[in-house]
Symmetry: C2
Subunit: 216 residues, 2 copies
């Protein structure tokens, strides 16, 4: 396995202990993992215990952004406490000669810290970056958010400062004494692909280039 | 949207409050979401705060299972506290006429409760079910786990009892006053697909049927 591994000051929370050779603190890898994601999972706690909530995310510079209704429980709690944001891409099933050496290929990132709400001016910049992340080129064609919509929405960001990536790629790692077991070994890849666009019933408008290109 | 919705006693932790019409407490939907997953995210806390850890998961009956090394911090903590397990499948980007009505189609499940370690006999049953979940039919061809491997491994399960699903599918929901905006609307699907199997270098054994079928 060729794992990117350029440690840069892990903290007690981001020091990977299990299978530490899969760990990386490389900013380019972290950016790539975040940019490949539509959704992250956020862990936080309250009087009812720990919660793990999936929510849409995107990156702008050195921050990961989320948004939601002003009334969201999670967004309120995240302003009061540190949390952990995790993104995981599963890339394949790794088929080894022994049951216990089976594994998965994956790219994951964990980010620790505290979210901060962004101000009104930055809210618009951030939400336009979100649209550009989701569907590049669409922003100019739709109705932009109005004052009422922005006023009802909280946009928050967390610095990509205290973070660690963990990745695995490549073939299985079998034990030396298992190498003569006569079984097929390799990787069954899992790939997130783009399906054929589904036009809304009744929509007769021309298909924009970014939709045609979606699964070209 | 046709959302399955057969409420069956949500608890304070599983009562969905935001966009509650997307919520479901249907066991068949919960099973389907878990069975489609290779990985879940688990939220728990310790002296360093909240953590959100991705880990492989599978279902056997009315429990979700995970496994790991006996030394795993997470597995130790999960025996001492309640946690939240979340699975999310992102199915598509929903393109509406206004920026704020853009959405995603998804299937997600949240499970609350406490994991319990399973005993030695059940450990083997559970790990064989895991292999059958990952690669059906492979169990008989590989070297099964030996006593040393099982002794070093903890298998835990959490009841699928206190759980909620939240799903969205279908076209965008636009505001009435936006319906004349001349922009293409619909869904850009995201699909997890099976890539061509990658045989390990040097493996010259026949390809088993379950590998050939992977991306047939």
């Amino acid at each position: 396995m060729e794992i990117m591994n350029k440690p840069s000051a892990p903290t007690p929370r981001t020091q990977v202990k299990r299978v530490a050779e899969y760990a990386s603190y490389d900013a380019a890898l972290l950016h790539a993992i975040v940019d490949s994601a539509y959704v992250c999972h956020i862990a936080f706690g309250d009087a009812n215990g720990s919660h793990c909530i999936p929510t849409a995310c995107w990156r702008l510079g050195e921050h990961l952004y989320i948004h939601g209704s002003n009334g969201s429980r999670m967004l309120k709690r995240l302003q009061e406490q540190e949390c952990c944001v995790t993104i995981t891409h599963v890339d394949g099933l790794v088929l080894a000669r022994s049951a216990f050496n089976h594994s998965m290929n994956y790219r994951s990132a964990m980010i620790y810290g505290r979210f901060e709400a962004v101000d009104e001016a930055h809210k618009r910049v951030a939400m336009e970056a979100f649209m550009e992340h989701i569907v590049p080129g669409r922003q100019a064609e739709i109705r932009a958010g109005n004052d009422k919509e922005y006023a009802a929405t909280t946009v928050m960001r967390i610095a990509l400062a205290e973070a660690a990536c963990k990745t695995r790629k490549g073939p299985p790692n079998d034990d030396a004494e298992d190498m003569d077991i006569p079984v097929w070994t390799g990787v069954l890849p899992l790939v997130t692909t783009h399906g054929a666009p589904i036009v809304e019933e009744g929509c007769t408008l021309p298909t924009p280039a970014y939709v045609t290109a979606w699964n070209a």
